[in-house]
């Protein structure tokens, strides 16, 4: 990627210690989980299912420490760039949280209400979160997308998408 330095990176990125912490927690979790596995070894499988997770857990702990050392020495990861990404701006948490909310609504409602309704809410909610304010137009687009995907995939191609409460109507 590009080697351009943004002025923001001149400051210490201490949030990186959070990544180290996360890696350490995952490592510990993997080891604890592996410790619970009963040791079954036979001639077909001399080492059993235990050693690999233990090795991975230990490596995660080691990497967490090395990562922390790298951060302490001033190491930073370069945030990913892209066509629509402006890395110099601060993270817009409101948008991210609203997107997650739209996502969760779909996840909760997809089985009881069906894809057409939950998908509509998902698209409309995501577009809203991303700053689109054409509410009525967005409803039409969302409904159209959900219906088209439902008919094309669930009915046309036999893909698993629930009809939910609209069973029999669609």
């Amino acid at each position: 990627m590009s080697t351009a330095e943004t002025p923001r990176e001149a400051r210490r990125d201490t949030a990186q210690y959070g990544v180290c912490g996360f890696l350490a927690v995952v490592g510990a979790l993997v080891i604890v989980d592996a410790a619970r596995i009963q040791h079954i070894a036979n001639s077909n499988d001399p080492i059993g299912p235990k050693p690999v997770p233990i090795v991975l857990g230990v490596l995660l702990l080691v990497v967490a420490v090395l990562y922390a050392v790298d951060v302490a020495r001033g190491g930073t990861g370069e945030a990913e760039e892209g066509e629509d990404v402006d890395v110099t701006s601060a993270i817009d948490w409101r948008t991210v949280l609203l997107l997650i909310a739209a996502f969760v609504v779909n996840l909760v409602l997809i089985d009881p209400l069906g894809w057409v309704i939950s998908g509509t809410l998902l698209f409309w909610g995501s577009a809203f979160a991303l700053g689109s304010r054409h509410h009525i137009r967005n409803v039409f687009i969302a409904v159209a997308l959900s219906l088209i995907t439902f008919y094309a995939f669930a009915i046309g191609l036999g893909v698993n998408l629930p009809a939910g409460v609209l069973q029999g109507i669609l």
Binding site: G48, L60, A127, V159
Partner: protein, 502 residues
């Protein structure tokens, strides 16, 4: 000549009206989705997976071939017409391509990219036909320790990509390996990391991981940093090239192909290195070096060809060894496994029909791509103006649909969200996503090979190291790991002139 017969049979299977239609559909949809800003080839394949769920494997593969090349080409259109590159492999294309477009030569830039991609893709696929069966022949003689070594090489290659932090790459790899652990151990039936959730016993579906990390993670990341004034799209007419453009393009195409295919075919290759090499070479050989940096056509022709040839090259380890070396190949492999097809040397013996149909459709997809892209370029350019809220809402919408469709369980959507947040955090902290996805796919296979190797040696650890092939591979891995040290030494020796490529 056996291969040629096989290939002709492959064409025979593919050349039916319905299959050609599927190939055309794959290329069109692949390009259309690949053109959209923020969607690279890997995400294109991941998002379009559900389309193929209802098809027979052969037909699905025909469509994949089209989506694969379409997604690749779509990406380069974006980087030429918009001023910021999406993929690391199209960074170079963007340097000269966008300059050309701004100087009013967008049509020529797109034309040399399209024709160069076709030339490189065709030659690359031909080389694939010749090389892959040889690799298979060689691979069949390999034992479990050798495979383990190859997997470790792929891990080392993915984590030590040029210019990125190794510790971050390694952290990503380990996270991927841990995700790969989740589920019932195939040998003993013991549950690992399932947290008592029955649906996790089968493991986390690779498709869910790929869509979560690539699509949802990317959408969340872009949403957090959305440019309020998206880059200006340069209007373009129908791509064409004048005589002098042809004269200046054909050699870079061939040289780019020569860099791209072999490097792409290496287990630790990738597309970045050949595109940069090609760019540097063209700059050196050009009769118009002063044009570089201001829109030199050679600087688009060479790297684009290198990019496409390396994509064909990555199919060699992917098909012959079951080894994905870039993100797109990783997602394709995930797709294959979801059909219950395990790429690797045995695939050529067990499912020759499938393999050769896939290869034949790569040729056809490539041809369609050329026929389609020259006239449709202005339409693709319009796609770049899609309002961003719709674009990213659409990505989340299709990602959710695709992930749900895998197993029809809402839990997968929760996993998708968690993985999306992980992908978001990785982008924020500069952790590369490729090692993670490679870890998820290859981790379980590497573990199986290791345990098989130990079984053969009755638990003796020396059984892990294996024969001469493994020794060579471990030597390569050592060099790769020690490379920063070696490079530092070299720099000390030649401090006079620091050569900086790219």
């Amino acid at each position: 000549m056996d291969n040629l017969t096989n290939l002709l049979n492959g064409f025979g299977d593919v050349l039916t009206p319905i299959n050609l239609l599927l190939a055309l559909l794959g290329v069109t949809v692949g390009t259309a989705v690949g053109v959209l800003p923020g969607i690279g080839p890997a995400m294109t394949v991941a998002l379009l997976l559900p389309i193929t769920y209802g098809l027979e494997p052969v037909q699905a593969f025909i469509m994949f071939a089209g989506i694969f090349y379409g997604g690749m080409y779509g990406g380069s259109t974006t980087s030429i017409l918009l001023n910021t590159p999406g993929e690391s492999s199209s960074v170079v294309t963007a340097i000269e391509g966008n300059k050309m477009a701004r100087a009013g030569r967008a049509a020529q830039a797109l034309a040399t990219a399209a024709i160069g991609s076709f030339v490189a893709g065709t030659i690359g696929t031909l080389l694939l036909v010749l090389v892959a069966p040889q690799v298979v022949k060689f691979a069949i003689s390999l034992g479990a320790p050798d495979y383990l070594a190859i997997m470790l090489l792929a891990f080392a290659g993915a984590t030590s990509v040029l210019g990125s932090s190794r510790i971050r790459g390694f952290a990503a790899l380990l996270l991927g390996l841990v995700i790969g652990l989740v589920g019932i151990d195939k040998v003993t039936g013991q549950q690992r990391l399932t947290l008592g959730i029955p649906q996790l016993a089968d493991g986390i579906d690779v498709v869910v991981v790929a869509v979560g990390i690539f699509a949802v993670g990317e959408a969340l990341w872009v949403a957090a940093h959305l440019r309020r004034n998206p880059g200006t799209v340069i209007p373009v007419g129908r791509p064409w090239m004048g005589k002098s453009d042809w004269r200046r393009s054909w050699k870079p195409w061939l040289r780019g192909t020569a860099y791209g295919f072999p490097i792409g075919a290496l287990p630790a290759g990738g597309a970045e290195i050949p595109t940069f090499l090609s760019y540097a070479t063209e700059k050196k050989l050009s009769k118009h070096p002063e044009e570089f940096g201001h829109g030199a056509i050679e600087g688009v022709a060479g790297p684009e060809a290198a990019n496409n040839a390396s994509a064909a090259g990555t199919l060699v380890p992917m098909l012959a060894l079951g080894l994905p070396t870039n993100a797109t190949a990783a997602v394709m492999l995930a797709a294959f496994t979801s059909y219950g097809i395990q790429p690797g040397p045995l695939l050529f013996q067990r499912e020759p029909k499938l393999v050769w149909a896939l290869i034949a459709s790569l040729f056809i997809g490539n041809l369609f791509l050329l026929l389609l892209n020259l006239p449709l370029a202005p339409a693709w350019a319009k796609l770049l103006q899609i309002p961003r809220p719709y674009l990213y809402a659409g990505i989340i919408f299709f990602a959710s649909m695709g992930a749900y469709a895998v197993n029809a369980q809402p839990l997968d959507l929760l996993l998708l969200l968690v993985l999306g947040l992980l992908g978001f955090a990785m982008r924020r902290f500069g952790l590369p996503v490729l090692p993670l996805i490679i870890g998820v796919i290859l981790g379980p296979i590497a573990e199986r090979q290791a345990r098989m190797a130990l079984q053969l040696s009755n638990g003796d650890v020396s059984g892990l190291i294996g024969g001469p092939v493994a020794y060579v591979i471990y030597a390569v891995i050592l060099v790769m790991i020690a490379w920063p040290l070696i490079a530092k030494l070299r720099r000390k020796i030649m401090t006079k002139d620091v050569v900086y490529t790219g």
